[in-house]
């Protein structure tokens, strides 16, 4: 037990330490930004420090938190719906070769319709409500999650399933102990992408459908020509994505992918 705990602490420590690389990347990014600012002036591209101040000012306002909460709630609801629908339907379709063949052209159609068209349709169906945002998020993220899960199920290791059967596993036990673990390997990377798109699409839908949230705030700072504040809102969004991604999705994935970590040769580990 102590060993397991120690192992986990070690991995957490390594993960936090790898944060320095992230900081270095951010510093480089700020430097390039500063150069751009000095070349084009305050109006086109405010300096990083000005943006930082604008962000700090935003964060002090009660209203910002309310808007961020509203947008995040919608994004996370939409994301959860995407994860659930994509996971369950992907699992069901992956088991049937016929359903898989039927699903492929449908996916192409869904993915072929531009997201903006979905927003327009959703606005007609749901008006300026959360329903519009949720629909758009699901439509944007579902095909990816669904296709990944279905593909994972279709390419599952039948030899392992046969082994499980030989040791007396019923269909549900095989699904739970063999297939799900295999699927998880492709499900979580797809979820990480879907999560990012959920936030982005939420803001876009809010902006276009005029639904109370960060999208509207962004539209307002645009009409005030307040570039620093616009960028500050973007920073707020990115921070929210970052928190959900590294607070929820990555830890679960790391826990399930420990064996892949073990498979990597020395020297590539960090």
């Amino acid at each position: 037990m102590g060993q397991v705990l120690l192992d986990r602490m070690g991995r957490l420590g390594r993960f936090l330490w790898s944060g320095w690389v992230g900081v270095a990347g951010l510093a480089l990014f700020s430097a390039v930004w500063q150069i751009g600012h000095e070349a084009y002036g305050d109006f086109i591209l405010p300096s990083p420090i000005a943006t930082f101040h604008a962000t700090a000012e935003l964060l002090r306002a009660e209203e910002t938190w309310r808007l961020a909460r509203a947008t995040s709630t919608r994004a996370i609801q939409g994301f959860a719906l995407t994860a659930f629908l994509g996971g369950v339907l992907g699992l069901a379709v992956g088991y049937s070769a016929a359903a898989m063949r039927l699903a492929r052209p449908l996916l192409t159609i869904i993915m072929g319709v531009p997201p903006i068209a979905w927003i327009v349709l959703a606005m007609i169906w749901f008006g300026s409500t959360s329903g519009t945002v949720l629909t758009t998020i699901v439509v944007a993220g579902f095909p990816l999650v669904f296709a990944n899960v279905a593909e994972a199920v279709a390419t599952r290791d039948r030899a392992l399933e046969e082994m499980a059967k030989a040791f007396g596993a019923g269909p549900l036990q095989r699904l739970w102990t063999v297939v799900m673990r295999h699927v998880a390997g492709q499900y979580f990377p797809a979820l990480a992408v879907a999560l990012g798109s959920a936030f982005k699409v939420a803001v876009m839908a809010e902006l276009l459908a005029n639904i109370d949230g960060i999208g509207v705030a962004l539209a307002m700072s645009r009409s005030n020509l307040d570039v620093a504040q616009s960028i500050a809102w973007v920073v707020v969004i990115v921070t929210a994505i970052f928190m959900v991604e590294y607070g929820v999705v990555q830890p679960i994935r790391a826990e399930l992918e420990r064996w892949r970590e073990a498979a990597r040769p020395w020297g590539v580990k960090r």
């Binding site: 392992l160 030989a166 040791f167 596993a169 102990t177 399930l256 064996w259 073990a262 498979a263």
Partner: protein, 249 residues
């Protein structure tokens, strides 16, 4: 007592009959080897016996309580440690976590798998250790019947010998019966009590030979002499090294 009885088992792949009304009995504590050329249906027969394939006709009656199975590849779960892999059948049977651990360790000791290696994932283990873990997984349920589907074909000669010794020792200690598919006649002579020859021309069992000496007393000279005698003098074994598995029939 009969541990396993196959009665009139038939099976065909895409209209090509591989097994036709096969009848085979395995007594308690008896290890039966199935040998024959590639494509003669030995693997199919053992898969049917283990309940992995539904036979098209005939029935399988088993008199054993629990069985284990060892495959040609190790078939360990890549995401589970060696210990969890060995304990996997117990997990399926709903054994509690602590008991599972203790029994997995006992099984690992039986196949001389080091305690330190139990925490490792299959990718971190060598080929021999993986196959040891696979044997331990089959033995962990304390089976009274074990199915072997060409378990050591992929291993090198020295390792193969070690694994055979493991199986011989385990079989003597635990007194399980077994069905052992192999295409290595020497292996069959070493580990089994009876050798059954399958032939694709008769689509089933062509004949069988009992091994005279008890298992503990078979040395290399005996194994070599028996194999030579089978191959050179016994017409039953004339076709076991045929390899034209794609021949249309």
């Amino acid at each position: 007592m009969t541990a396993l009885a196959l009665e009139g088992v038939s099976h065909a792949y895409f209209g090509r009959t591989v097994l036709d009304r096969v009848k085979l009995d395995v007594r308690d504590g008896e290890i039966v080897s199935l040998v024959g050329p590639s494509g003669c249906g030995k693997s199919t027969l053992v898969h049917i016996a283990a309940g992995l394939i539904e036979p098209q006709r005939g029935r399988v009656a088993n008199g054993y309580r629990r069985h284990g199975m060892i495959f040609q590849e190790h078939r360990l779960l890549p995401w589970a440690t060696a210990e969890d892999n060995i304990a996997y059948p117990l997990r399926l049977a709903g054994v509690r976590c602590n008991a599972r651990r203790a029994r997995a360790r006992a099984a690992a000791d039986l196949v001389h798998l080091d305690r330190r290696d139990l925490e490792k994932y299959p990718v971190e283990l060598s080929g021999g250790m993986r196959q040891r873990a696979a044997i331990a997984r089959a033995l962990v349920v304390e089976p009274d019947f074990v199915f072997f589907d060409e378990p050591f074909t992929a291993l090198d000669v020295a390792l193969k010998r070690q694994m055979q010794d493991l199986v011989i020792a385990a079989a003597r200690q635990a007194r399980f019966a077994g069905l052992f598919v192999t295409h290595d006649l020497a292996e069959a002579v070493r580990v089994s009590d009876r050798i059954v020859v399958l032939d694709e021309r008769v689509r089933g069992i062509a004949g069988e030979r009992f091994l005279s000496r008890p298992q503990g007393e078979r040395d290399d000279a005996f194994v070599f002499a028996t194999v030579q005698a089978f191959l050179n003098e016994d017409p039953l074994f004339a076709h076991i090294h045929d390899t034209n598995e794609r021949r249309a029939s």
